[in-house]
């Protein structure tokens, strides 16, 4: 703040142009809004050139044939919808996103509560430790998971057989691989939920709990009637945000299973990569990734509503 005040003092040397008639005001305002627009120009350019334009370009691409010489309309979409292996991709993408997000939300919620019980400096340390999964670049930690799951060298299986339990082919069968992939995503994302929820918990006024305690409310009742309603917004937005990110996930599946076994773990993103970049069928790859659009648009609707509401709240 000190800087600000010195600046103000320093600036007062120049006499401000006294506000005169309306014309000048209008011209000034226009100039100001032009300047404002100019400041936003890089942002707008970025969004238009690298977000909006590619989106429409994807739609265009998806309607070409493999060699990109002929317009084929919706053939690529029809083709995909006719393949059982693509049905698996749709199923797995939804299963993956929903299950992983629910798990992350639950674990994050539990962790935030546990963390909230601990006060003082030790909370910082625990929080730091639990944040580690989220801090390591995902592709690298997934690599470690892969090594933990490796058929011949699995440290997990060593532990299982040491405990006298049968070994598990973690990535070997479709369902095992699906569960493994979801597990890794949960491991990675739960800390994010934890911090968000912890921040929300901290913002709940302590007096509410005190009052409830005096009224004899049980911990359960406090959770249902105070904590959850107070956290409703943040839970919603975190879940929505995470749904988008998880639904569009690429790294984990690409590294851990590359879509296998039997195409059972392909997500839209990895399948689009396999078809579009790896097999060189760009239009069909674009069609695959566009299948994400309806789901994302639905989520967009909810996010948009939430953001608009919030803007209204901020405005009032």
């Amino acid at each position: 703040m000190a800087d600000g005040s010195t600046m103000v003092v320093g600036a007062s040397a120049t006499t401000p142009p006294a506000p005169r008639q309306g014309g000048t005001m209008k011209r000034l305002a226009r100039r100001r809004s032009m300047a404002a627009l100019a400041l936003c120009a890089p942002l707008i350019a970025l969004i238009i050139c690298l977000k909006i334009y590619p989106t429409f370009y994807a739609i265009f691409l998806s309607m070409l044939d493999r060699k990109m010489n002929h317009f084929v309309g919706l053939d690529n979409f029809a083709y995909l919808l006719g393949r059982p292996s693509f049905h698996l991709v749709i199923f797995q993408s939804c299963l993956f996103a929903v299950t992983a997000v629910v798990m992350k939300a639950i674990i994050g919620f539990i962790l935030a509560h546990l963390m909230h019980n601990i006060r003082g400096s030790s909370q910082r340390i625990w929080r730091g430790l639990l944040l580690v999964p989220w801090v390591i670049p995902l592709s690298l930690s997934t690599l470690t998971w892969w090594w933990l799951f490796d058929p011949s060298y699995s440290a997990f299986n060593w532990t299982l057989s040491w405990l006298g339990l049968p070994e598990v082919p973690f990535l070997g069968t479709v369902w095992n691989a699906r569960i493994s992939v979801i597990m890794v995503n949960t491991w990675f994302g739960a800390p994010f939920f934890m911090i968000m929820y912890l921040a929300a918990l901290k913002s709940v006024p302590e007096q509410l709990y005190e009052a409830a305690a005096i009224d004899g409310a049980s911990a359960w009742q406090r959770l249902i009637f105070i904590t959850l309603p107070m956290m409703r917004n943040i839970i919603l937005i975190t879940v929505l945000y995470s749904l988008i990110v998880t639904f569009a996930d690429f790294d984990i599946v690409r590294i851990l299973t590359n879509g296998g076994p039997q195409d059972g773990t392909h997500l839209f993103a990895t399948y689009a990569f396999a078809v579009g970049i790896q097999s060189g069928n760009i239009p069909r790859g674009a069609s695959v990734s566009l299948f994400m659009f309806p789901v994302l648009a639905t989520l967009a609707f909810f996010v948009l509503r939430d953001v608009l509401n919030r803007n209204k709240e901020v405005a009032t």
Partner: protein
């Protein structure tokens, strides 16, 4: 949450005993919290722990499969030394540092300017823009990498780290802008209005008031941009294919994994070294980052 049923619905006990039981309850709940958290910490830290352990093993120890894989039997720094002196690995590192630095600078410049404009100056459509910025996250990179492949191909940027400098800001800028708008909005309007009346220009206000006051937000947004650029995987995987252009993430995943070779000690050592910069950053600046992440959210 244990013992909650006992209190529920019963008549309100006298104040003294209530306080005593509350304290006891609290002690129990803190202790069980610690116990539960310990379990979570152990589970959460299994992969990083194994990463470090494997990094300390020699190829021979890994392939021999004798004894407990969780513990290194004859620790060696050989993997780290070999990587540190390896020209390719150094190149991945340099590429990552260079890309990350560029992305952070570009993203922050765009975000701060836009946030200042949106938060204070205003123009027709500013509201739409600030909402729209966040909505760009609804079009994730995995939807755009194929059309972008064609676009960067036309630009001649395929297999060139510049492509990341161009594309990573699209992932970082929206959230950075959002964080910055939040921080700028929290600066009292009176402050800059007073400055304006005193004849300060907008650039002066931005540099002398907003940036110093919103420094925690800037740190948070910078860390975010850093994370995005440092850990990015899909774009470099799709657009950079020769070893000399690889960043750390793809360099490790793609170049170090050779089917036949038991380079896992080295792969894990590389992961440790690549994960070190973000971990160091978080160790010192975690509070800023957490505050930045949650700043927008808690207001809601």
């Amino acid at each position: 949450m244990s013992g909650a049923t006992a209190a529920a619905g019963g008549p309100v006990p006298r104040k003294k005993s209530k306080v005593g039981s509350l304290e006891r309850q609290q002690r129990i709940s803190i202790r069980s919290s610690y116990a539960a958290l310990s379990i979570f910490v152990v589970i959460f830290l299994v992969p990083p722990f194994y990463m470090v352990m494997t990094a300390l093993k020699s190829s021979a120890e890994i392939s021999a499969q004798q004894g407990n894989p969780w513990i290194v039997q004859s620790p060696t720094m050989e993997n780290f030394i070999q990587l540190a002196t390896d020209a390719s690995f150094q190149r991945y590192f340099i590429n990552s540092v260079w890309v990350t630095a560029m992305v952070v600078i570009i993203s922050m410049a765009i975000a701060i300017l836009a946030a200042f404009s949106l938060s204070r100056m205003g123009f027709k459509g500013a509201q739409v823009l600030s909402t729209g910025v966040f909505l760009t996250y609804l079009v994730p990179p995995s939807l755009l990498f194929i059309p972008l492949f064609q676009i960067v191909g036309t630009l001649g940027l395929i297999n060139n780290t510049w492509v990341l400098v161009l594309l990573f800001p699209t992932l970082a800028v929206p959230f950075c802008t959002w964080i910055m708008i939040g921080y700028f909005n929290s600066i009292p309007k009176e402050l800059d209005e007073a400055a304006l009346i005193d004849g300060a220009t907008y650039p002066q206000i931005l540099v002398k008031i907003f940036i110093p006051v919103a420094l925690p937000g800037i740190i948070a947004a910078t860390i975010f941009a850093f994370t995005v650029a440092w850990g990015g995987f899909l774009y470099p995987l799709a657009y950079l294919y020769s070893a000399d252009q690889a960043t750390l993430t793809v360099g490790i995943v793609r170049e170090l994994i050779k089917g036949d070779v038991f380079a896992w000690g080295m792969i894990m050592a590389a992961c440790v070294m690549a994960a070190a910069p973000p971990i160091i950053v978080y160790t010192f600046l975690m509070d800023y980052y957490v505050a930045g992440l949650t700043a927008g959210a808690t207001k809601g």
